[in-house]
């Protein structure tokens, strides 16, 4: 019986792993193929099944005129927009969350919980609902097709995530810590920056990670709100899919777009396994 359970366990783990990893393997092998190998049916093992070539990877760094694909600029556009959007969201979100967690706000029937819900409700609507208002607003402000416009939109989209995570985090930090800081001679701002904030780094990292993932992988708004001047990576990659799709370049570009998230996940995982994410405050 135990053998049976063990078998089932490993079998399911294996199946799931295949499900998760297979697309990556597919993309990796495809990125080393040329036109011939891609179109000649499913092949997997380099040098045996097909002759590997670096053409797909080289094309990432060539200009379209040289037969490459323009991916470098969208990549850095994405980095700027995601970093700025996440950064601003985290700063504003953390401040908002702290005040929502510590002070009581009253406006008619509205209480702290309602304000928190208001933030979260921004993410309840399907993005399509927001796209037209965003388009019109950015158009009026002359910010369509600009990095700044995108950053603004991303702050609107990402800050609710930051507020949500950080309110929850601050609610778990005992009030007595703030109070002790006040008693020890800190004014409320010093109490926040000298005591609460240094102890909230784990929460900030988690919130930051979520913001970066959502920001980096967003396709919809990047697609709607830009035309030719500014292109973000997901849009650039999808744009490769035309009448003659360079599958090798597309695969290489897709892998490049995943890489930053893998790095983030790796860093956070290290941080998580050190046990720093919980137990600092109890």
């Amino acid at each position: 019986m135990r053998l049976f359970y063990t078998t089932v366990k490993y079998l399911s783990v294996t199946l799931w792993s295949v499900f998760v990893i297979a697309p990556f393997l597919w993309a990796i092998t495809t990125s080393f193929k040329d036109f011939q190998s891609v179109t000649s049916g499913a092949t997997y093992i380099p040098w045996v099944d097909f002759e590997p070539t670096l053409e797909g990877w080289r094309s990432l760094f060539k200009s379209p005129a040289q037969g490459g694909i323009a991916i470098v600029e969208p990549f850095f556009n994405s980095v700027i927009v995601t970093a700025a959007g996440s950064g601003i969201s985290i700063v504003l979100g953390t401040l908002a969350a702290y005040s929502l967690s510590r002070f009581t706000f009253r406006a008619g029937p509205i209480r702290n919980g309602d304000i928190t819900f208001f933030f979260i409700s921004q993410r309840i609507m399907p993005p399509v609902v927001l796209s037209i208002p965003f388009f019109i607003m950015l158009g009026k402000l002359g910010l369509l097709d600009t990095l700044f416009g995108l950053v603004l939109v991303y702050v609107v989209l990402l800050m609710p995530i930051a507020v949500w995570i950080m309110v929850d985090f601050f609610n778990k930090v005992p009030h007595e810590i703030d109070e002790t800081a006040l008693i020890d001679g800190c004014n409320p701002y010093q109490a926040f920056f000298k005591v609460v904030l240094p102890n909230s780094i784990p929460g900030i990292i988690v919130a930051g990670m979520f913001c970066m993932i959502f920001g980096w992988t967003d396709f919809f708004f990047a697609f709607i709100l830009t035309f030719t001047e500014v292109q973000l990576l997901p849009v650039a990659i999808v744009a490769l899919n035309s009448s003659i799709t360079p599958w090798w370049s597309l695969s290489a570009a897709a892998l490049v777009s995943v890489a930053p998230l893998v790095v983030v996940a790796f860093i956070v995982e290290r941080y998580l396994s050190k046990g720093n994410l919980s137990g600092a405050l109890k």
């Binding site: 005992p174 008693i183 102890n199």
Partner: protein, 359 residues
């Protein structure tokens, strides 16, 4: 230097957290606020600290109106029931924090921090992280952080309640030592507790609180000898004082059809009529000449036995020396030492105590 509270009240929608609290405290004295959970002890301490503002009433310290001074300028020290330290700092940095905040010179900070750490027995722990310490050690760090400030007002909110028994006893002893020697000369020390034994051991002045009100303020000895009401007698005794409804009739205390005692001398001035009589558990002993009770529960506490017994409607708790074994339902004969009996009016006010309070 005095701390004067006049008519402090804090009210929520339904009930009072503080109800017309007034007191005067002067330096060099330990004040213990004793009360059950939710009696308003923490609220009172936080109000004194300035973390909560009273709805009405005034707090004056050293001649200054505390109401206009924010927490961070009050220069007080407070130790919480939970072990509150700054988890991102080491032990040394934790203790140094309030001094750094004051902008004190590094050499002076070092001298004071090392001094405070040695007082609480944490030398050699300077570079440890807070999470790496045991509960008792964490509370010592919090204590050191409050000592290092040499604050004029030190608030201790049930600081020992989350520690295990042995450590509690030990730390309580050390507290006395620390505060007797140094801080208390120039400061007012306010200690809150639910534990009567702790309050009595600390000595000093005791404020008995219940439902946001101060029921009695007096020295520990006075509270023990003359609790002004049945409520105070319940809060300040562990186990709570036994209370029996009865009457004085024809020179006898009558507690029931069969239970009668001769009037002890200190009750001579009392008129006939209904009373609530109080007797501490320790004034009840097992003797063959006593009244028969049946055992409901027998608890062993250290080297003593708490015996819960009943006789018809009368339920009492007796404290017997040594560990003794009883069976549930077993008959025991108990003698009441009426020399130590209290008499309260039916509304709860003290009428007569064995120590000569009121008549």
């Amino acid at each position: 230097m005095t701390l004067i509270a006049s008519n402090l009240s804090i009210k929520s929608e339904k009930n009072y957290h503080l109800n017309d609290v007034s007191f005067t405290m002067s330096k060099g004295e330990i004040y213990t606020i004793i009360g059950r959970t939710l009696a308003g002890k923490t609220t009172l301490l936080k109000t004194i600290a300035g973390l909560i503002s009273p709805d009405s009433g005034k707090l004056t310290f050293d001649g200054k109106d505390f109401g206009n001074i924010p927490v961070w300028k009050r220069e007080i020290a407070m130790v919480y029931q939970q072990f509150i330290n700054y988890p991102h700092l080491t032990v040394y940095q934790n203790v140094a924090f309030p001094l750094k905040q004051r902008g004190m010179k590094k050499i002076e900070i070092h001298r004071r921090v090392m001094d405070a750490l040695s007082q609480v027995g944490l030398e050699g722990f300077e570079t440890r992280k807070i999470q790496a310490l045991s509960g008792g050690q964490q509370q010592r760090v919090a204590l050191a952080r409050s000592l290092v400030k040499e604050a004029k007002l030190v608030l201790l909110d049930e600081p020992l309640v989350n520690l295990d028994y042995k450590l509690r006893e030990q730390l309580r002893e050390e507290f006395r030592g620390i505060f007797d020697s140094k801080a208390s000369e120039n400061s007012i020390l306010i200690y809150s507790s639910t534990d009567p034994v702790e309050a009595m051991q600390l000595g000093g002045q005791i404020l008995v609180m219940d439902e946001g009100r101060i029921l009695q303020q007096a020295s520990a000895k006075e509270i023990y000898e003359n609790p002004i009401s049945t409520k105070v007698s319940q809060i300040t005794n562990d186990p709570a004082m036994n209370l029996f409804d009865g009457k004085i009739e024809d020179g006898c205390i009558v507690l029931g059809p069969e239970i009668k005692f001769d009037l002890p001398n200190h009750f001579n001035g009392l008129p006939q009529g209904d009373f609530t009589f109080g007797l501490r558990a320790a004034a009840i002993s097992q003797e063959d000449t006593g009244f028969p009770f049946s055992v409901e529960l027998s608890e062993i506490s250290g080297s003593e036995t708490f015996l819960h017994v009943r006789h018809e409607g009368l339920k009492i708790v007796g404290l017997l020396n040594f560990v003794q074994n009883f069976l549930v339902g077993e008959k025991v004969s108990l003698k009441f030492d009426t020399k130590h009996m209290y008499a309260f009016a039916p509304d709860g006010r003290l009428k007569s105590s064995p120590y000569g309070g009121l008549q």
